[in-house]
């Protein structure tokens, strides 16, 4: 009850453009049945925070559709709960986290909240951080702003007193800073800075390569178990998909699959989302296939990321590399002729 959370979903990661043409980074699908925002929101509710402001800029329809009134995170409350706070075109789209121009548009959110501290975070870091523990460390250190780090890598989560955040929002223009991340990076005077060392699994997703690597990490049981901790569930918008069906002839190894899919082909080292169809004699290796995509017969795909509703026609062969996976955009239809 000491913390209010700010999720900066208005921040843009230029490297992820292929997946963020029609959505925010926060609503990029990840780990088969989730969106990136699920990890952030779940960390927040697992840290007993129940006042959350989601700052989002266009195109946020998929994000709004996904989180709704926050019911799946138990954030549909009479008191506190989830607030969806749209950010104008001119204030959104910054590359650093916690842009004051965006926060400034919703100061009422902070004024209404009764909590003394704020955690400012974003969705491009996937981890299992405990913000209550981080707040204890922040208070104990006496620092003005505490940043979560893993060794020397910043995880884009910051805790500070709400009064300080309000002060920064009012004075950022004269101080010549643009965001909370910027203040911390510049170590702006007269504030003092602390670090909170996070030791668990994390992945920073800011490019197609890092997205692909983080997806493949999930196939490593140690890393996966570091993200899906017992007692720290990751909540998401539930769908009423039936269990996944493996038909005669299917062959699946070392893969992660969500519900509602029908598998008739061969799947190895891959992440398969909900309601995907993989027909017979098709072979997938090191692929990430998102919701409702269909792979027809006799396809051979390696190192491919297929966004939602991609339709790969019969006999298509596509080969990417770990550094440069082939990315198929949402709703794309791929035929054998096109690939040639």
């Amino acid at each position: 009850m000491r913390l209010v959370a700010v999720i900066d979903a208005a921040v843009k990661k230029p490297g992820l453009e292929d997946l963020t043409m029609y959505r925010t980074t926060a609503s990029v699908p990840f780990a088969g049945r989730y969106r990136l925002v699920d990890f952030t929101l779940s960390n927040i509710v697992n840290s007993n925070i129940n006042a959350v402001g989601v700052f989002a800029s266009y195109p946020f329809v998929s994000l709004l559709d996904h989180i709704g009134v926050g019911k799946n995170w138990d954030l549909d409350r009479r008191k506190d709960g989830l607030f969806f706070l749209p950010v104008s075109q001119k204030a959104g789209g910054q590359v650093t986290v916690g842009a004051f121009a965006a926060l400034e548009e919703h100061t009422a959110f902070f004024e209404k909240s009764r909590q003394k501290y704020v955690v400012v975070t974003t969705c491009s870091t996937v981890c299992q951080i405990d913000y209550e523990e981080m707040l204890d460390a922040h208070i104990a250190s006496g620092a003005d702003i505490t940043e979560a780090v893993s060794r020397d890598v910043g995880l884009n989560s910051y805790i500070l007193a709400k009064s300080l955040l309000m002060e920064l929002i009012q004075t950022y223009r004269e101080k010549k800073v643009i965001s909370v991340e910027d203040v911390v990076k510049l170590k702006k005077a007269p504030y003092s800075y602390g670090k909170y060392e996070y030791t668990g699994y994390y992945a920073i997703i800011n490019s197609i390569e890092s997205y692909f690597q983080a997806s493949m990490d999930l196939l490593d049981s140690d890393k996966r178990n570091g993200l899906f901790l017992p007692g720290h569930p990751i909540y998401t918008k539930v769908k009423d998909e039936p269990p996944t069906r493996y038909l005669p002839g299917s062959q699946v190894n070392r893969s992660l699959l969500a519900n509602g899919s029908t598998i008739e082909g061969t799947v190895e080292n891959s992440i398969i989302s909900r309601a995907v169809v993989i027909k017979k004699n098709s072979r997938l290796d090191h692929c990430v296939i998102m919701q409702k995509s269909v792979i027809e017969e006799n396809c051979d795909l390696a190192y491919v990321i297929a966004d939602k509703n991609v339709h790969i026609e019969e006999g298509v062969v596509l080969r990417g590399t770990p550094e440069k996976p082939v990315v198929l955009r949402k709703g794309e239809r791929v035929s054998k002729e096109e690939v040639r």
Partner: protein, 382 residues
């Protein structure tokens, strides 16, 4: 609303032939199909048919069912008006009365129905697996100007003596209802789905209640009484998948039907979703040593062993070297390394020891319980 329908879902069944599976839960709460409970089917049928007022009548071991249904959120039945209402036996001025028969259960809730003020009442059973549009049946009921309409399905002649059988004329008007006839004249079995005009049903419930010799059962008492009084009773022919999962064997069969694309039971139809509560679990993991052949697997599972022709509920672990053949594995089971099971239903939450072996006995499906595991451990000196 001239067509207002209230569904009354009879969910008090014990299901004694399901052995220990229903010792602590009512039959409608029985897990099925990797993620569902049987009651998901009639509840989803209701909402998919546009019926949003449902009374669920419970009596036997109601806790799991009540907790499961809650406010009815998974079925969109958490509504300001109508929605789902749990109807349990209650104490009144005359003392405490248990539900004594299916008709008595409805009779005791006349007050609920009067408050809802429907034009039609549909009586459903909480222990059948099928997908059915009740509106089409209601259209038939209205069109035929029937006093009651009973949904029927053709069953194999050899099985007909296990069901309530309707003898009808060529227009599907019911001439006679015979409960489990030794020599059936027809193979049209009642599916336990009845539509009544509410005012008419109320009258016959009252008459039946006044009859001290009645067993207060829809099939045995209400239907014959209405026929006797000359009401027009219609049989509504249903064609599609329907299964009464009354035994361990039939529960197993219905699960296996999900693996067969030609069984007529398709859960992947977005136009007729079966809604259920969705636990928040990570995707299923198929490990490097995992091998799957014809399987239905739910989220939260980790499969490192061999799974053939089996249905696996959420949060199950199948360890390396273990093998399952034609099994139904309920939630939170751990199948130990090297364990081998064939044609077995595994109860929830069991930890199956390494190298444990069990298969069907004399052609019958076995239900694996903690007792069997303890006995095996004893004989193996573990």
């Amino acid at each position: 609303m001239k067509r207002k329908v209230v569904a009354m879902l009879l969910a008090g069944g014990q299901g004694s032939r399901l052995k220990s599976l229903t010792h602590e839960i009512a039959k409608p709460a029985l897990p099925f199909g990797g993620k569902y409970r049987i009651i998901d089917f009639p509840l989803s049928n209701c909402v998919n048919s546009g019926i949003h007022t449902v009374g669920v009548l419970t009596q036997y071991q109601p806790h799991v069912l009540h907790n499961y249904i809650g406010l009815g959120t998974p079925w969109d039945l958490d509504r300001r008006s109508g929605g789902v209402t749990m109807l349990t036996p209650y104490a009144g001025m005359e003392g405490i009365k248990w539900y004594d028969g299916t008709a008595d259960a409805i009779y005791q809730n006349i007050k609920y129905l009067t408050e809802q003020d429907p034009k039609y009442v549909i009586i459903l059973s909480g222990d059948h697996i099928y997908k059915m549009d009740y509106q089409t049946m209601l259209d038939f009921h209205i069109e035929q100007n029937a006093g009651a309409t009973i949904s029927v399905i053709e069953v194999p002649w050899k099985d007909a003596s296990r069901f309530g059988i309707m003898n009808t004329d060529e227009n599907m008007q019911i001439k006679e209802f015979v409960e489990k006839p030794a020599e059936p004249e027809s193979n049209l079995a009642s599916m336990g789905v009845y539509i009544f005009d509410w005012k008419k049903l109320e009258k016959y419930l009252q008459l039946d209640n006044d009859n001290k010799n009645s067993s207060h059962d829809f099939g045995k008492d209400i239907i014959p009484l209405m026929l006797e009084q000359g009401e027009k009773m219609m049989a509504y022919p249903y064609k599609g998948y329907w299964k009464d999962v009354g035994t361990v064997e039939s529960l197993w069969e219905a699960n296996m039907d999900l693996l067969n694309s030609n069984s007529g039971l398709n859960l992947n139809d977005p136009a007729w979703r079966i809604f259920s509560s969705n636990p928040q679990l990570p995707p299923q993991v198929i490990g490097e040593t995992g091998y799957l052949q014809e399987a239905l697997i739910n989220e939260g599972c980790v499969i490192d062993g061999k799974v053939e022709k089996s249905v696996i509920f959420q949060d199950v672990e199948v360890k390396e070297g273990a093998s399952l053949y034609e099994c139904v594995v309920m939630s939170c089971v751990v199948v130990g390394k090297g364990a081998k099971l064939s044609r077995v239903i595994i109860e929830p939450n069991l930890e199956i020891p390494e190298n444990f072996e069990l298969k069907e006995q004399n052609g019958e499906i076995v239900l694996l319980t903690q007792d069997i595991i303890d006995e095996w451990k004893g004989s193996a000196g573990i």
